[in-house]
Symmetry: C2
Subunit: 254 residues, 2 copies
Amino acid sequence: MDDTPNPTSCLLVIGNEVLSGRTQDVNIKFLATRLGEIGMPLREVRIIPDVPETIIGTVNEVRARFDHVFTTGGIGPTHDDITSECVATALGVPWVKHQEAWARLERHYRPGEFNPARQRMATMPEGAVLIDNPISIAPGYSIGNVHVMAGVPRIMQAMFEALAPRLPGGKPVIARAVHAAGLPEGRIAEELGAIQARFPTVDIGSYPYYRASGNGVAIVAKGTDPALAAAAIDSVTELMARLGATPVEGEPPV
Amino acid sequence: MDDTPNPTSCLLVIGNEVLSGRTQDVNIKFLATRLGEIGMPLREVRIIPDVPETIIGTVNEVRARFDHVFTTGGIGPTHDDITSECVATALGVPWVKHQEAWARLERHYRPGEFNPARQRMATMPEGAVLIDNPISIAPGYSIGNVHVMAGVPRIMQAMFEALAPRLPGGKPVIARAVHAAGLPEGRIAEELGAIQARFPTVDIGSYPYYRASGNGVAIVAKGTDPALAAAAIDSVTELMARLGATPVEGEPPV
């Protein structure tokens, strides 16, 4: 088996609208899922405001700490869209007209409508490699290990799928789950810890649930070795049955 | 007018389940909204895994940088619930039995069921001040400027409301909004920037929306001075009308 560890990733969600509670973020879950699937698991998320020093400082901190950094938000035409200038400053490169992005936007708008505000969307850190935007044209881009995407979920998702083929992923992270109604996690906690100790390369999580249909606990095992994740869940299933509960494969119904 | 700046806050979401995409976080939006309402705006969120060094390092970094730190997740009875030990280590205090928390849990469980795993939920950094949990008993706690809460949304929300009266809040953050269908943000961007410049203490955000009912742009003005937020939105409303759009007060319908 290939023992190369998977590359790590970090997501920066840039925008006051998430920090103020105006917007329910849905980009984190999408990217967390997709990055796990392509073997580049998400190790940290930071949600930061539209403040230049914060963006610049955070980009520099996380691009040094993680193999890949994804950003969402702040690449539109308005005064609060400052991600792009900040990434250029963080990387110490000029923020310049990108010929191809400029050409795409010029073709897209009617004559006279490609105004200075919109021209900012074609201004990028020197050396940026475009990420296609099939929804609303204005592209994202990669520069070094930083991948800059839009914040609108539909656009971000399309950009990520355009980018994914050129990302150096690793082994997919596989999840297996089992759940049992009426079983409090406090009853399985001690033996579950022992199972985790037996499977150190599998990440075992315990998640109590509270549903209209009833309460219980779901145990999820994640890892890059499907056989080990399955074996861990088999052990949990046995444990649940031994305690008199009825284990059911998979996550509990919503 | 009182010119004391509002205290700042930071949220740490602790748990692999959000980073793996298993769980759609809803705690961020709740806390962002409530913290704005009590005048302690959220300035940063970090989502971090159940890794001791990461939790300890992050707690120490953000408790020095922000006035208040809130954590969600990792205070249950299972092996992956390690927030509490990590907070004790970060603060350099022993992790010890909390008499009152212990008494509450001992009363709650049937004889013999308050097992070692559950006893961990009554083990806290020395000096912890309890945060009541009216839903499932096991309390959260404050220690210094760090407030440790559960991850299950219903429990976290109840804990926050129990905690809120003793938080030293500031001036509530007020939001005013206006939206216009059919207006691309690229058309108002330049003049919107000029309005932002005229209202430097108001935080003006521009949010394009894409709905089944149609596309458009919503402009939100936030600040602690209601008159200034309203004046900024009045200027935006005028601008939208001047450009031939039909401005409508408030956020666009969902």
